[in-house]
């Protein structure tokens, strides 16, 4: 991720335009010439050429301008590759009208700068609401190509002097972060077919009251579909009740993310040689994770995301070992969870694993007990033997266990995982995500049939 670069120069620092520079140069030459030939008239012309740009420089430097800028993004979170509208409300706070200024929004390199434009004349501060003649609304569309958190802004206000000799740029307001989430491919299927059970709570209830209709109705919560309303129970209770039997109480799923890329190519990461292919693979993996995760959350799962490296989704001191080494995975729940997940993934980057306590802790999955089996999806880029062993060790707690590999996983690791019972599906581009998911569902269908 590129870091937002800040100018070391003070924001108000004025510059001469090309015209101003030519004025100064010509004026200086003429001045010397006039001194040598002793021509008072030329001397005056030279002095005008010298003095006016300098006065203009002072003018743009001291010219007061106080602005208030409010920046909003529409939508506030945007997926990579789709457009977002940046909306700036600029209000003149100074007691003088602002005229002839130019504006542009400073952006870092990840998004294309929108170019520069004229700021309409703003009357002096009126103190009223922000839609008076002292304010203007500026809008432009950006098309971020890469996921990440991009700083947009601050607004750069450029002002010329009246003769176009000097120019100063001044930063107004603060940069705002635009969260660009990974692209999501919507996956086929509802996700129900993935699990063998309905979730632990539901099973428990069913065990205790196998035939109760009463207990499977619950009160209405916002977000419940109308078709789920249990009209008999509603009539009985006097408030809207919802059938519960179709909803899993809290079905869970596990998403294992390879963020360390700790395979034999690790050296290239350590030395900071950014391999373009790795980068693309990582982006593909993040996109895959976002698609699968969003799909699972949409299907009603509580999603546990386990990162192989230190947790970036929910960083913490006790979460630096990697999920397979004993850290708690990060959990996301259906309402709002998809957004949290996408925001987290927007910032995800490959990190170096802390080698100190490899394989010391027990996996969370293993410590969870064998009460039920989790659907597990691993997204692997480049794993080492320890990762593979960890994955193999949790296989027993997972059903189904699907490993999406992005093509850079070593063949022996792949074979090891297949032998351990992981279903390995190789995805090499984002176009194959849908096909890969269909493959998973077909495999599950087969499994269901055989059970």
């Amino acid at each position: 991720m590129p870091v937002i670069r800040r100018f070391s120069r003070p924001g108000w620092f004025p510059r001469l335009t090309l015209r101003g520079l030519i004025f100064l140069t010509a004026g200086g030459a003429l001045f010397l010439n006039a001194l040598v030939v002793n021509r008072r008239d030329l001397l005056f012309v030279a002095c005008v050429l010298l003095a006016v740009p300098l006065v203009a420089l002072v003018y743009v430097a001291v010219r007061p301008s106080r602005l208030h800028v409010t920046r909003t993004f529409r939508p506030p979170i945007v997926a990579a590759g789709s457009e977002a509208v940046v909306c700036l409300l600029v209000q003149n706070l100074s007691s003088r009208p602002l005229y002839g200024a130019r504006w542009r929004d400073a952006t870092n390199g990840a998004t294309k700068a929108p170019g520069t434009g004229q700021l309409p004349s703003l009357e002096r501060y009126e103190g009223g609401r922000d839609n008076g003649a002292d304010s203007a609304t500026l809008e432009y569309t950006i098309l971020p190509r890469q996921r990440g958190v991009h700083g947009i802004g601050p607004l750069v206000l450029g002002q010329h002097d009246p003769f176009g000799l000097a120019f100063s740029e001044r930063r107004v307001g603060e940069p705002h972060d635009l969260v660009v989430t990974p692209r999501i491919t919507s996956l086929p299927g509802a996700g129900i077919a993935l699990t063998s059970g309905d979730g632990s709570l539901h099973e428990q209830l069913r065990r205790e009251n196998p035939n109760s209709d009463e207990l499977i109705a619950r009160e209405y919560r916002p977000g419940d579909a109308l078709r789920r309303v249990n009209w008999p129970a509603t009539a009985r209770h006097g408030e809207i009740m919802v059938r519960q039997e179709e909803q899993r109480s809290n079905p869970e799923a596990l998403l294992i993310l390879d963020t360390t890329l700790s395979g034999p190519r690790e050296h290239s990461l350590m030395h900071g040689e950014r391999d373009r292919r790795y980068d693309q693979d990582f982006e593909l993996a993040v996109e895959l994770a976002a698609s699968v995760g969003a799909h699972l959350l949409d299907g009603g799962f509580r999603l546990n995301v386990a990162e192989l490296g230190a947790s970036q989704l929910a960083p913490g001191l006790d979460r630096e070992r990697g999920a397979l080494n004993g850290d708690m995975p990060t959990a996301f729940r259906a309402p709002g969870g998809d957004r949290q997940l996408l925001e987290g993934l927007a910032n995800l980057m490959p990190i170096h694993r802390q080698e100190a306590d490899v394989a010391t802790g027990a996996s969370w999955v293993a410590s969870r007990g064998a009460s039920s089996q989790l659907p597990a999806f691993a997204i692997l880029i480049d794993i080492n033997d320890a990762d593979a062993a960890g994955l193999a060790s949790v296989r027993g707690h997972c059903e189904p266990a699907v490993a999406f590999t992005v093509g850079t996983v070593r063949r022996d690791m792949l074979e090891y995982l297949i032998n351990a019972g992981w279903q390995c599906i190789t995805v090499t581009s984002s176009h194959e995500i849908t096909a890969a998911w269909s493959e998973v569902q077909q495999q599950r269908g087969v499994v269901h049939d055989t059970v």
Partner: protein, 785 residues
């Protein structure tokens, strides 16, 4: 919700936007051609130029409006210019008066030739004859086409200033000082107006051609301000720029005393004009004399330096005849005048001359030169007038030794000279037949009762030197009788005001009318002795400057030759042989001339007039330099004292408001904060007043000062009460004076407490000013006041 309207206006026609540029160019060119005013008489030429510029610029703008392609517009502008010139100057030779024919170009050629000729011959201010007007109009028309192409077709309006420098700069090449500063300022202002209009046109253009498409920025604002932006900024920047340029150019000391090119000394002298006499007057009227030459001599009396002799009338005007210069007459050996009889006493003198500024083809030498050495180039002497002239080189930079005869005829010898003149001298008695009667009448009246030509000559000289005539270099110009022609002499004898040209010419003409051969010599007075001639190189050196230009009559006496007289009052030196005291002896001279000329008889050597003028000029140039240095110093002091003055004004204002009661504790505290900042105490807006007060009272110099601590405490309490008390318990208004006193105590204590450097900085560069000037990021004031 108020309705937002898009800021972009309906895109108007593109060419519409260029009209302001056309008007600005028109203004610039008219103002620029106005800079030629010192060179030309009247205002007719100005109207011609303005009219041409207007026609050309309006028509190019019109063609642009009609949709002519941009690259063709300059060509159409040229066409319009040609048509206009054909109409106005073509004298009807054009087809339908408008379309130029070959005849038209012949007419134009004639106009150009006559214009160039009259530029060569006329001196400034010149009369704008048709040729000059044609040159001016066509020149400014071409400039207009060029400027239009630069500023509007190519959109480089800043470069359009370069062609305008031509009319603005030309006066500097011809006259001293160049164009008047007023017209320069006007031209600079017009140029800035052009730049301003251009910046506005660019904005309008950009606003009308917003990029379209999805990624283009969209701007929504209430379109309230439709007209041009506020003028304040442009006026402020422009006027400050021009005024500082004025100050700067006035305060810049000159490197060289006079310019090596352009209006150097002597470039006017016979350089261009046909009438040396008028040019001579021009040089005499120069406000600042410029050095012409300097010399050392062995002669007892410093010689006059003669450049040329005017010995012939063409029409009514004196001219120098140059046709008798023989290529065999080299300057190494100049034969002694054959008419000079051995009885006349003569002394051989040697004079070393170094030319400083004279630039002419005539060599300034003492009269009766016999040999010149050390000259560069080929120089020849005129066998009649003994003037020395070159056809291939100039006097500029020459340095040479002249051997000459100093003639000392006595009055008796002159009186006894025969009136039988040799054949070669006879043309020197010609006079134009049509001459004012006053010349002959005056000559006869003045010389009545004189017996010999010599006595008549002395009588004429005394008449002219007498009290009736006044030396005045300006009157002939003002009254329109400048020059030395016979008609001018008539006027001069009536008005009795004039300068050496008139006196010399009058005496020569009157002598001729009496039958005495006479001619007019033009040259230099002997000049002044170097003032700083203490010892060494400068000792015994004489300097001649342009104010020493002179002309005098020479009369012919048989057996002696050409003898100079000095009829100009207050200038030069009357030769010993022409003194009235001598001539009065034989009793034939008129007694009436004696009393008037007696006071002048004593001034042997140089008259005081020239000398005092020179010394006055020297002192003015000295005081000029002093003035310039003073202005520069004043500027520096102003610049350095500016911050201090601004700070002091702010402080005074606050104190006044405090004492008047119109401001309260907040103002007092703000002033305290500013003083603290001035004295290098860091004040942040994050501090509460109490924290600041605690830090202040803990400063090294303040902790022992009980009075200051109490005053500070009172200020703090007042501020806190002002801020936090209920409105009904607000502090009484008359508290302000007490606050001001307390403030004074604390500020003085602060001042005492800081070290010397901080004190000086607090006075000269108060730090509290900078936030007001520079820190305008929305952080607001530094102080928490």
């Amino acid at each position: 919700m108020t309705r937002f309207e898009p800021a972009r206006s309906v895109p108007g026609p593109r060419h519409q936007a260029y009209w302001p540029l056309t008007w600005a160019l028109l203004l610039l060119l008219v103002v620029g051609s106005g800079a030629l005013a010192p060179l030309l008489r009247g205002t007719g030429w100005m109207w011609a130029m303005t009219f041409t510029v207007t026609i050309v610029l309006i028509s190019t703008a019109g063609f642009r409006r009609l949709g002519v392609r941009r690259s063709f517009v300059p060509i159409t502008g040229l066409g319009v210019l040609l048509t206009f010139l054909t109409l106005v100057f073509g004298a009807g030779t054009g087809l339908v008066w408008l379309i130029p024919t070959p005849d038209t170009f012949t007419v134009f050629q004639g106009l150009i030739d006559s214009g160039i000729d009259s530029i060569r011959q006329q001196s400034t201010p010149a009369a704008p004859v048709a040729g000059i007007t044609f040159l001016l109009a066509s020149g400014v028309g071409l400039i207009a086409v060029l400027v239009d192409a630069l500023a509007i077709t190519l959109r480089w309006p800043a470069l359009a200033g370069i062609p305008v420098l031509i009319p603005v700069g030309v006066p500097g090449l011809i006259i001293d000082g160049g164009a008047e500063i007023f017209s320069l300022v006007l031209a600079a202002g017009a140029f800035l107006v052009l730049l301003w209009f251009d910046a506005r046109v660019r904005r309008t253009e950009e606003a009308n051609q917003l990029p379209e498409g999805r990624s283009a920025p969209r701007v929504f604002a209430r379109a309230t301000r439709l007209g041009p932006g506020p003028m304040g900024g442009a006026v402020a920047v422009g006027s400050i720029g021009i005024v500082s340029a004025l100050v700067l150019s006035a305060a810049t000391p000159a490197f060289t005393e006079h310019s090596p090119v352009g209006s150097g000394n002597g470039s006017l002298l016979f350089g261009s004009g046909v009438s040396p006499m008028i040019d001579l007057g021009q040089d005499l009227r120069r406000p600042r004399p410029q050095p012409a030459l300097h010399y050392t001599t062995t002669a007892v009396a410093q010689p006059y330096f003669k450049l040329l002799t005017l010995d012939r009338f063409v029409g009514t005007t004196w001219v120098a005849s140059t046709n008798r210069i023989n290529r065999d007459n080299t300057v190494q050996d100049i034969t002694r005048s054959p008419e000079l009889s051995k009885s006349v006493e003569s002394v051989e003198t040697t004079t070393s001359v170094v030319i400083d500024g004279v630039d002419t083809a005539w060599l300034p030498v003492p009269p009766l030169v016999t040999r010149v050495e050390g000259l560069g180039g080929s120089w020849y002497w005129d066998s009649h007038t003994r003037a020395i002239r070159s056809f291939d080189s100039s006097t500029l930079g020459q340095s040479y030794q002249v051997t000459a005869l100093e003639l000392k005829p006595t009055a008796g010898q002159l009186r006894d000279s025969s009136s039988e003149y040799p054949q070669s001298v006879l043309p020197a008695m010609d006079l134009p037949t049509l001459r004012p009667d006053i010349i002959d009448d005056t000559a006869r009246a003045v010389t009545s009762g004189t017996g010999t030509p010599y006595d008549a000559a002395v009588a004429l000289q005394d008449y002219l030197r007498g009290g009736e005539f006044a030396y005045d270099t300006d009157a002939p110009v003002d009254d329109g009788y400048d020059g030395g022609g016979v008609d001018v002499i008539g006027t001069f004898l009536e008005l009795q005001r004039g300068y050496c040209v008139h006196f010399a010419s009058a005496m020569a003409v009157m002598a001729r009318s009496l039958g005495i051969p006479a001619r007019v010599a033009v040259g230099y007075l002997p000049g002044t002795k170097t003032s700083d001639g203490v010892a060494g190189a400068g000792a015994g050196q004489f300097n001649i400057n342009s104010n020493d230009l002179h002309s005098w009559p020479e009369l012919y006496f048989g057996g002696v030759g050409w003898v100079s007289f000095e009829p100009t009052p207050g200038r030069g030196r009357v030769p010993a042989y022409a003194r009235p005291a001598d001539s009065a002896g034989p009793g034939s001279a008129s007694g009436a001339t004696l009393p008037t000329s007696a006071p002048r008889a004593g001034d042997d050597g140089l008259t005081t007039g020239g000398g005092s003028v020179n010394s006055a000029a020297g002192s003015t140039s000295g005081s000029d330099a002093l003035l310039r240095v003073g202005a520069l110093a004043a500027l520096i002091v102003c610049l350095m004292g500016g911050p201090a003055a601004a700070r002091s004004l702010r402080r005074q204002g606050r104190m006044r408001r405090l004492r008047r009661g119109s401001a309260g504790a907040a103002t007092a505290w703000a002033e305290l904060g500013d003083s603290a900042i001035d004295h290098a105490v860091r004040v942040t807006e994050l501090e509460t007043p109490r924290e600041l007060a605690r830090r202040l009272s803990g400063l090294p110099g303040l902790d022992g000062d009980a009075a200051a601590a109490e005053a500070l405490d009172r200020l703090l309490v007042a501020l806190e009460r002002h801020r936090y008390a209920r409105p009904e318990e607000a502090v009484a208004a008359d508290q302000g004076a007490d606050l001001a006193d307390d403030l004074d105590i604390v500020t003085e204590a602060l001042h005492r407490a800081s070290d010397r450097a901080a004190r000086v900085r607090a006075l000269t560069l108060p730090a509290s000013l900078w936030p007001a000037v520079l820190a305008r990021q929305n952080s607001g004031r530094i102080r928490n006041a």
